[in-house]
Every structure is written in C-alpha cells, then in structure tokens.
Amino acid sequence: MSAGVGVDLENLWIRFGDFVAVRDANVHIKGGDFFSFLGPSGCGKTTILRAVSGFLEPSEGNVLIGGNNMKGIGPNKRPTALIFQNLALFPLMKVWENITFSMEIAGASARDRRKRADELLDMIALPGQGDKLPSELSGGQRQRVAIARALCAEPDVLLLDEPLSALDLKLRQHMRTELREIQKRVGITFIYITHDQGEALTMSDDIAVMRAGVIDQIADGKTIYNDPATAFAASFVGENNVFRGKVLEVRGDQALIRTNRSGDLLSRISTANQGKMNVGDDAMMFIRPEALSLAPTGTQGDHFVTAKVNHEEFEGNSFNIFMEGDGGKELKVAIPNHGQSFDDHSGQDMTLEYDVHNAVAVPAGELAAE
C-alpha cells in the first residue's frame, strides 16, 4: 500500500484579503493513506483541499504531490481528482459518459470508454446502469457514480469534500464502509474533508483536527480520541466532560488540578503537552462520559467527583446521568446497561469515580462549539 503517492503541505498560508483561512499548515500525508481533515465548518479544511486540487494558489508555502511542487500547475494538470460536496455530476450526460469524461478529454474512443465504464460500474455495484441519466439514480447511486468518475481519471490522490453529507444516516454509515473498501482496493491516497468525527474516526488512517485555520493535532483516530493535544481536539472529537482549573502540582506525567468546583483532581497530562504544563497554569481536564462510574456517595479523593444530578435519561445501551458540571456545561455520565435496576437520582448528590489514566489534562484553550 506504500506504493501510493504522498502529499505534503509545507508552511502553507492561505489568505483572503485580511482573513487568514489557513495558518502555517504543515502536513505529511503518506502515500496510500486515508487521511482526513476534521473540523467545524469554516475552519479552512475545504480551502486546504482546494489548494491541493489546484483551484486555489496558496498565499505562501508549497503543496507537494509525490514530492513534486505543484506551484503554478492548474487543476486539470494535477494528478488529483476531486469529489465535490454536491457531487457535480453532469446532468445532461449519461452515467457512462459522466464516468469516462476524463477519457473523452484524453481522446479515447467510444468503445474503450464504454468498456472502462462497464468495469467501473461493476466495481461500484451498478452494473448495467450506464445508460441512465444521473437524475434517474438514487442519492447513494449518484454518490458511487461520482467516485467512479473520479477514479476513472486514475488519479494518484483522490480528494473528497464532505461527499456523504447529503445522504441520510443509514446510507452514510453504509458508504463509510464502502469508501474505505474502495480505498483499500485501489490503493491510492484519499484526502477526506469532514466535520463528522464519526466519519473521520471510522475511515481514516490519520486525522488532522482543524480549528479556525490552524491544525491542532495530526494523529491516528485512537490517539486523537484518547490523547488529544488541545482542548479543542478533546472537545470536538467525541463527547467529553470538561473541568476547568489550575495546575496545582505536576507529578511526572500526571498533574493535580485544582478545579473550579470539583476539588483537586488527578489527571494524566496528554502526551503532546508533557513537560509543558507548569504549576499555576490554567488547565482543562477531560473525562469521557463512559470513563466515569458510580462510587459510594461522599467518597473523597483525587479521582472522585461529587455533583448534583440535574436529570437522567435512558438511551437503550446506557443510562445517561446529567449533573451540574464544572466547565459551564453539564457533566454527562454514561452507565452501560447490563439489565441492572436503575433508580432516578434527580436532585440528589452523587459521587463519581474515574481511572486517572482515562482523564487527560491539556492547557486551557478554546472549546468546540456545541
């Protein structure tokens, strides 16, 4: 799989007038990887994609594809193919003409094109649908045609701009698996843009978490989920409970944090911040809802939190308890449902326990919007 063509962004800046859309991005994408840029809308991830595809010249810095600098090379000359958010299939061309448009441009004969279209239609499980118009297909089928059209150009790098966002939930989940399989089969580099952390986590080899033009963290999904580098990465990827406070004591790779309302709590310092957090610094501590468990009420200690229950809900696989939180929003606890009885605790104080390795401390920073 390492045969694929890698993509590098070197000190990439993109400005629109005074607005900085991308600030000093440095990314190395390995050939044959499925790489995602994950961030909220307006964070600059689509801008990066446009710079890679060639629709936009960076203000500063370089885009390298397979080690070659792409400066001054137009989108029609780059070894990339882009799948648009709205797919942008050509409505007046039949499916097979859509798929083989790149071959038509290259001057291939109608017979060769037809043959290649049939191969690709088989690959995307739409055999015999070549003579339809895109408007005669369902959303998921159109999605696959767009993928086939891009793959037909035999790009070294496939760029995908939130291509699943228009589909309904079931189809979206199905297409995740399918995209990942296609990527493994063709073995080329995929660069995927999404604001959906589920998509990024399930499909990607590596993920870059972006916020307001800045890349906060580049790592594989597990690392980003378990060991976030910034408060934004911790709060954007997955559900997380935040505790605000100041560092009281640093003990090796752990920190004791004096939280605003929940007493002194012990936490692991995230790998990226080890050695960088000092006593007295503003800090944030994150614990996932599923990492909290119930403890005997009133237990004291550096890994126990006591708070008042606001309300509770039953979600099927878990009971969710929402308590008065520390960081301005509610503290959520998810207790797995093993069929145990579960009383309503609304209005009561409850004590929670966590394993220190499941709590992670980072310097205080901007949180993701809800």
């Binding site: 137009g74 029609n76 648009f84 790149s102 441009i105």
Partner: protein
C-alpha cells in the same frame, strides 16, 4: 369543461379566473390572431379603390404573391429580381446578425452568470440603461458615430489609419452594428438566465478531470445553456428580420431591407394587399427557418419558453 380549465378556475376562483382567461384570450385572439388573419385575407385580394370593395371585382387571387416572384405583368424581366434579392439578403443578413450577436453575447452572459457580486449588478444595469433611450434615437446616435464625418472616421483619419473617410453606411457596417446593438439584451438575458443556474462545481469538476476551457464550454456549459441560446437566437433573428427603424436610418441608399419594401407598399403605394402578402411571406419564411433550425439543433419548443 375540460379538466385543466376546471382546475384553473378552482385554483384562482371564478372571478379572477375569468378575468385572467379573458385578458389572455383578448391578447392572443384579439390583438394577434384576428389582425393577422385579416392581413392574410388582405393578401389574397386585389388592391381596389374603396367603392369597389365588396363588389364583383373583389375576389380571392394569388396576384400579390405572384408579384413577389414574377414582378409586374408585362415587365422586362422574368423574375422580380429586385424584390427577391432584397428578401434573401434580409434573411441572410438577419442570420449573420444573429450569429454575430451570439458570439458577442455568449461570453458576456457567461461572465455575468458565473460571477457574483455588486459589480455584476452594475454591469447588468449598464447594459439595461441604454435601452431606456428609444430605438430611433439610438439609431441616429450610431449614425453620428459611423457617418462620413462622424466620430469613428474623425478618429481613424486623424490617427492616420485611413487616408480618406470610410463609408460605413454605404458598406452596411453601420446597419449591422445597429441591428446587433438593438437586440443585444434579448440575446444576453436568456443565456444569462440559464448560465446563472449552472452549478459552478460542474465547471470545476470538468476542469479537475482534465478539460481545457474550450472543452468545458463545448461539453458542459453550451449544452446546458442551449435553451437560453435558442431562445435568444430566435428572438434576435425574428426581430432583426422584421426591423424597420435601424435599416431606415442606418441602411445605405442602395441596400433595402425587406421590411422597407413592405412599408413602401403599405405607405407609399397604399397597396395594402401587396404589403400584406409580402409581410406574410416574410413571417412564414422566418417561422419555417426557425423551426428547421430547431430540428437541426434538437431544440424543443418548450426550451424556447424557458
């Protein structure tokens, strides 16, 4: 009552429905179909002094049509070469004006349609405002520009490009420019309307798949804009073939436009039946030409209405 009429009345109410239907019928039947039928009737009758109208001499005849082809009876020529030449020249010139307008307007319409922002509104306004000035004034303005001692000749001779003034009017350049200018909006706006609704991602997708700009236009933009192009071309062709003011004011003394012949028959010769026959021939020929071209370019009648 047929189903669609019942539905129409249900949706709009009986009063509003009848009013709307009445107005549309008045417009199509009263103002277009009936006068044209009366012209058709005229064209088959001899030109008689008022007392003899309705008399024994007032019978249907093909004389007026024969005149266009063979000329006056006992004339020196076998065919009415002068009028026929004007007729075909008018059609060819109208086709040329249409093609010229299309080539000129397509890029403008594309630019307006695919770019957003305030400057686009300003451009559109700059295109529209000259049309507040009436057609005659605009034609005379062009005369000032193209005349023998006009602005253009002053510039060309003054800068030494030409030794003597060039006669733009006698060479029909002023006429073509005037006709082209007169209908520029009718070409730009239908095309602009369609291209504005073309998703820009389609153009980018074609580019991303390796297409150079001209192939993007050939394969993506023009097929999409076809309804607008046909609508614009039809209007410009019909209107320039039927134009009167521009040929009258900007045409050279030796080059008549067919509409001028029609005008002469009605006005100078007071021969309404002859004029009506000429007008009917022009109308029918233009319609047939448009229908034929629509077939060639595979355009539906419904597309023209877009």
């Amino acid at each position: 009552m047929p189903g669609f009429l019942k539905e129409f009345f249900n949706r709009n109410g009986t009063l509003m429905g009848s009013l709307m239907l009445g107005l549309v019928l008045f417009w199509t039947v009263g103002l277009i179909i009936l006068p044209q039928l009366s012209m058709l009737d005229f064209s088959f009758r001899p030109n008689l002094p008022p007392p003899e109208i309705g008399g024994p001499k007032d019978v249907y005849t093909l004389e007026n049509y024969k005149y266009l082809i063979y000329g006056p009876e006992g004339g020196s020529q076998d065919y009415n070469a002068v009028d026929l030449k004007v007729f075909f020249r008018t059609l060819v010139a109208a086709v040329c004006v249409t093609i010229f307008n299309l080539i000129l307007c397509y890029p403008i319409a594309y630019y307006l349609g695919q770019n957003k922002g305030n400057h686009i509104r300003v451009f559109a306004l700059m295109l529209i405002i000259p049309y507040w000035i009436n057609e005659i004034l605009r034609a005379f303005a062009l005369r000032i520009i193209f005349g023998e001692s006009g602005v253009l000749n002053t510039l060309l001779v003054g800068s030494g490009i030409f030794d003597t003034p060039f006669d733009f009017i006698r060479n029909d350049i002023a006429l073509y420019a005037g006709l082209g200018y007169a209908y520029i909006l009718l070409m730009i706006f239908p095309i602009y309307n369609v291209i504005e609704s073309l998703d820009h991602n389609q153009i980018e997708a074609a580019r991303d798949l390796g297409a150079p700009w001209w192939r993007i236009h050939k394969r993506v933009v023009i097929p999409y804009a076809k309804p607008g192009i046909s609508s614009g071309c039809t209007m410009v062709f019909m209107l320039s073939a039927g134009a009167l003011a521009a040929p009258q004011i900007l045409g050279g003394p030796s080059s008549l436009w067919f509409t001028q012949l029609i005008y002469q028959q009605f006005n100078d010769n007071s021969d309404w039946p002859q004029g009506a026959a000429y007008a009917i021939v022009l109308l029918v020929t233009c319609i047939l030409l448009v229908l034929a071209l629509m077939r060639v370019f595979k355009v539906n009648m419904g597309d023209i209405g877009k």
